[in-house]
């Protein structure tokens, strides 16, 4: 298995000016110390609470938000060191479907123009083949070729989201960040798009960083899943392991909250206690300690190391030393 992206200690902080006149400064720790190797042809999903830094991770990897620290190695180049000009040759390979499709589509361009632009720019089809290519792209995402003449504001929310997916695919990329890319679609269209993504992966070895909150979808399409909490990776594991034996206390709480499509299903949510801490002032030590049922003194002062518990299954928790026991006598 070859590594496509080698990400080390990636971080992103935002400096804010607070108060009516911007008289106070504050720093948002949106992402800290994110390290992972993404293998060619795999789907790595990222899940976690709203605001925990998932979109920021995608943006920082693609250098759409210039990282505050760390490196992203792609084909021997550290993307984190590049400015926008130097990034340009890599843009076609590395695509993103934004969480907010409206902001990515130019309101004055028809859908056909928006899709043609990257195809013509990267010379991926001749002028003569263009109409057929557009029709194919639209059909792949479940839209008829007639949509090519429409403007973004003439589409429903889910139709716009599918155009954003088609636009990323138009570039024939190697890597796509899918940021909540199917969240506005009904389940049947969602299934169609997921099938499409899996087919493209089979055919072209595409690699996905898949950001989603629907855990059933995540389990379905992921090779590996990373769980984030307040800007840090809390757990990383092959999908099957993560869902069968979640190790981190946060992951366990998250999985217990999954609702079922049955009004009679018992809802025994293990609701997390306490306020969601703010990334403006993340708690010291383990960032989860303010809400963790297992938290002890050590957790409040020391950041837990990200350790491998079983092969390929890593977590950052002082209490977890084996897949079955939470061991407080011999903290690592």
């Amino acid at each position: 298995m070859t590594t496509l992206l080698e990400i080390r200690n990636l971080s992103k902080h935002f400096d804010l000016r607070l108060g009516a006149f911007g008289e106070r400064g504050a720093r948002v720790h949106a992402l800290d110390d994110f390290s992972v190797d993404i293998a060619e042809g795999e789907t790595l999903s990222i899940v976690g609470e709203s605001g925990c830094g998932k979109s920021t991770t995608g943006f920082a990897i693609l250098n759409l938000h210039h990282p505050s620290g760390g490196s992203v190695l792609y084909k021997g180049t550290d993307l984190a060191q590049l400015d926008e000009d130097a990034m340009r040759p890599f843009r076609r390979d590395l695509q993103i479907v934004f969480q907010d499709p409206y902001s990515t589509l130019n309101p004055r361009m028809t859908i056909g123009e928006a899709l043609s632009e990257p195809i013509l720019f990267h010379k991926l089809a001749s002028k003569a083949d263009l109409p057929a290519r557009l029709a194919q792209l639209l059909q792949d995402v479940g839209l008829s070729a007639r949509f090519a003449s429409r403007y973004p504001h003439e589409l429903s929310g889910g139709q716009r989201q599918r155009v954003a997916i088609a636009r990323a695919l138009a570039c024939q990329p190697r890597f796509i960040v899918c940021d909540e890319a199917i969240s506005a679609l009904d389940v049947s269209v969602q299934a169609q798009i997921l099938n499409l993504l899996l087919d493209l992966q089979d055919k072209y070895g595409l690699t996905y960083l898949f950001i989603a909150h629907d855990l059933a979808v995540v389990r379905h399409i992921s090779d590996r899943v990373g769980v984030m909490y307040l800007g840090r990776l809390a757990e990383l594991a092959p999908a099957a392991n993560l869902f069968a034996t979640p190790l981190h206390p946060y992951t366990r709480a998250l999985l217990s909250a999954v609702p079922e499509a049955n009004p009679r299903a018992p809802r025994n949510r293990q609701m997390l206690q306490g306020e969601v801490p703010s990334p403006l002032a993340p708690p010291p030590g383990c960032r989860f300690h303010t809400r963790c049922p297992l938290a002890r003194g050590l957790c409040r002062s020391q950041t837990p190391a990200f350790r491998e518990i079983t092969p390929g299954h890593l977590t950052a928790c002082h209490a977890v030393t084996s897949p079955t026991a939470t061991n407080w006598e011999t903290p690592a």
């Binding site: 935002f14 804010l16 607070l18 108060g19 009516a20 976690g48 609470e49 709203s50 605001g51 979109s55 907010d100 409206y102 479940g142 839209l143 008829s144 589409l155 429903s156 929310g157 889910g158 139709q159 909540e180 506005a184 679609l185 009904d186 389940v187 049947s188 269209v189 969602q190 299934a191 997921l194 099938n195 899996l198 909150h213 629907d214 855990l215 059933a216 979808v217 389990r219 379905h220 399409i221 992921s222 999908a239 869902f243 998250l254 909250a257 609702p259 079922e260 499509a261 049955n262 009004p263 009679r264 299903a265 949510r269 609701m271 997390l272 306020e275 969601v276 801490p277 703010s278 002032a281």
Partner: protein, 328 residues
């Protein structure tokens, strides 16, 4: 019991150069005081336009051309823009599907919520700002005080959605219309929002229309569900009856497409083959017929009407002659 909202025979047309195209084709729905109605349906089937028509916010070139929507004794479709402005926010709260286009990008979010309160509840500015901060806390935004001065682009997608929810609730409306309000929210925060809405429902008898594609979410929230397909209601049922006896072939297809935490990873998911008809190009009879495996001549002969489902709840009605056969 009288209905709070009664939509009858609503039709909506899009003006196109080739002539008008019908997107919403005779929707009839009612909602009682304190009831919550879930609306599900295929992307592009007309859910958002139906709801926007009620508050007079249809886009250019799109008009409600027929039907009535009686709310508190008055027909929303016959009201002037001025009358509708008084209804919006204070009587009908609206959470829009697209936060980035409905939030003002150059205005701090605290000021945006406060402005709504000043306008809808005639609050003084300091009180409105204090209430805005409270609302941010209610929807689970950490450090609400610091976030009051944030601009929309400085928030995560889910935070923006929660700002929209706070604004929809600001006027303490009698009816809340929420258009895909939680698509970017993780399960824990979703659960928190659902609890919040439930709580408001029981405290102030608020009614809710909740558009979503998330069947698991709606199972825990709605009293009733209406399934839309190509601008018509194809199934309308109490929530339990819908999950116990999903009847319309489209509804069954939707439920079959649902990935679950127990299915085989990486397998192909079932999806309904084909695409829905576009506005203005609907086939004769049942709009789902071209994609339906049970289709019979009766389906294409006439548009099927909502009929009770034999053996299910008496309020369970479906527009399909094949699956409701045997109805007495």
């Amino acid at each position: 019991m009288t209905a709070l909202l009664e939509i009858k025979g609503l039709t909506i047309d899009i003006a196109r150069d080739e002539g008008p195209a019908r997107v919403v084709d005779g929707i009839t729905l009612s909602l009682e005081q304190g009831e919550s109605l879930g609306i599900v349906g295929e992307s592009g089937c007309g859910k958002s336009l139906t709801m926007l028509s009620l508050v007079g916010l249809l886009p250019n070139r799109i008009r409600a051309t027929g039907g009535t929507a009686i709310f508190g004794g008055r027909d929303l479709l016959a009201m002037s823009q001025r009358e509708l402005r008084a209804v919006r926010g204070s009587e009908i709260g609206f959470i829009f599907q697209d936060p980035m286009t409905s939030l003002n990008p150059v205005m701090r979010i605290g000021d945006q919520i406060a402005e709504a309160l000043i306008y809808q509840k005639s609050m003084a500015k300091p009180a409105a700002l204090a209430r805005a901060e409270e609302l941010l806390a209610t929807v689970g935004i950490p450090s609400p005080k610091e976030r009051m001065t944030a601009f929309p682009h400085e928030l995560s997608g889910g935070m923006r959605q929660r700002v929209m929810i706070a604004m929809g609730l600001a006027g303490e409306p009698k009816l809340l219309i929420a258009d895909e309000p939680t698509t970017a929210l993780d399960v824990t925060i979703q659960a928190q929002i659902v609890d919040l809405v439930r709580d408001l429902k029981s405290r102030s008898d608020m009614s809710v229309v909740w558009i979503t594609h998330d069947l698991a979410l709606i199972a825990g929230l709605a009293d009733r569900i209406a399934v839309l397909y190509a601008g018509t209601v194809v199934e309308d049922a109490p929530v339990q009856a819908l999950f116990d006896h999903p009847t319309h072939p489209y509804t069954r297809g939707l439920l079959a497409s649902l990935p679950t935490l127990s299915d085989e990873p990486m397998s192909r998911l079932a999806s309904i083959a084909g695409t829905p008809p576009e506005p203005g190009r609907r086939p004769p009879g049942c709009p789902f017929a071209p994609r339906c495996s049970l289709v019979e001549p009766a389906c294409t002969a006439a548009v099927p009407q909502l009929t009770p489902v034999p053996g299910s709840d008496p309020r369970h009605r479906v527009a399909c002659p094949v699956t409701t056969r045997g109805a007495s």
